[in-house]
Symmetry: C2
Subunit: 206 residues, 2 copies
DNA sequence: CGTTGCATGTAAGTCGTTACATGATTCT
DNA sequence: AGAATCATGTAACGACTTACATGCAACG
């Protein structure tokens, strides 16, 4: 069993779904294409971790609705109690930032600005989703609690990356006081000042 | 050419390195095992993007020092000017959080606490690294500028995730005022309050 | 009349990990 | 005495992506 299999089990432990639904649902958790999901579902069904039901539809293609079995639930439970292991991030934006010294000022700013635009779009979508769930008064024992706190996590991290983008744009902006400050202090000192301001805001002291 | 190839080019554009050095250096940028790096280096050398020099050493195995060629530099430059595309995050912690409703309170807290411990360790290492670079007054045109802002980015995001962990632990803590508050408001309302407090701190108003 | 959504699958190929293979030096 | 660091490579396998294949319904 690979991690994708456990991701599928964790979604099916909440409600039965088709492979098609899983593909969109897994985006938050463990992104996978349908061409990878369907064979995994078949294998897991053969191992007795899942069962499925044919649903005939009119006007739409037929589908298979998969449900988790008792064996599947046990397999999932023993896995989630093992310590989490590997976080893998592969983001070509990071490589382009690393090589930013090869760009002129305009292109450097464009790199950051494009990222900022994407992040802003994501954040505004997330605000709507969070607003919706906020109506429901989710409890810590609810099935939806996990999804809710993951959404908030992503939202917080996105907003923090937005702050970082603004900080970098400030450093790059030549027609700005920051160039003057940069000449005197360097970017490192400005980062230190930013951090200290945050500490003052959060704790009232450094 | 795949993304790993460009990551290698971007490191070599700063200074020549051996495959062994690259393996540790790429961790921040595009993590890869040595068994993947060595064949890629050979192929890139055959394509004329890199050149290497044998270095004989005493007391240590011999090594090959790779340098970027003019062709390699041009290839890299045209790639970094293309828009960044794919961000892939695969983190089994997220799956375990999603399925947190299957855990009892103690195991749920342990999941978050383990993550918090890892993050705290990472952050304290990063503080030292940032302190070191802060001596150097890095300019925006410096070769080191990209690495520096990436380090700050990672540091900011880690600290934000630490905040999130504390928020979640607060929600899970049963022997705490938060349970009383949770009973009245629900976790969503508490998140909203947290966000509003941040806005007040940052802008002086909501 | 083209695109998006619904719905499932296979085949070929690339990317990445784990294991195999070697070997001296230094640190604990 | 065992582990870690330095240093390079190959082979086998597993994970993931891209392309191929089909087909109806609704929307603009």
């Amino acid at each position: 069993m690979n991690t994708l299999g456990y991701a599928i089990l964790s979604v099916l432990s909440k409600r039965p779904s088709s492979g098609y639904e899983l593909a969109s649902c897994l985006d938050l958790l463990w992104p996978a294409k349908h061409s990878q999901i369907y064979p995994v579902l078949t294998k897991m069904e053969q191992k007795g971790l899942l069962s499925f039901e044919h649903i005939e539809q009119i006007g739409k293609p037929n589908k298979k609705i998969y449900s988790i079995t008792e064996k599947g639930r046990k397999t999932l439970e023993s896995w989630i109690h093992e310590p989490a292991s590997n976080q893998i991030i592969r983001d070509d934006f990071l490589i382009k930032v690393y090589a930013i010294w090869l760009k002129d000022e305009e292109n450097a700013k464009k790199l950051i600005q494009d990222r900022l635009d994407k992040l802003n779009e994501q954040v505004s979508l997330q605000v709507k989703e969070i607003e919706e769930i906020n109506q429901e008064q989710t409890k810590t024992t609810s099935k939806k609690f996990g999804k809710y706190i993951l959404l908030c996590r992503s939202h917080m991290l996105n907003k923090e990356e937005i702050s970082w983008c603004h900080w970098v744009l400030g450093l790059l902006k030549s027609s700005h006081i920051s160039k003057l400050l940069l000449g005197v202090f360097g970017s490192a000192a400005l980062y230190k000042i930013l951090q200290n301001l945050k500490l003052i805001m959060e704790y009232g002291e450094i």
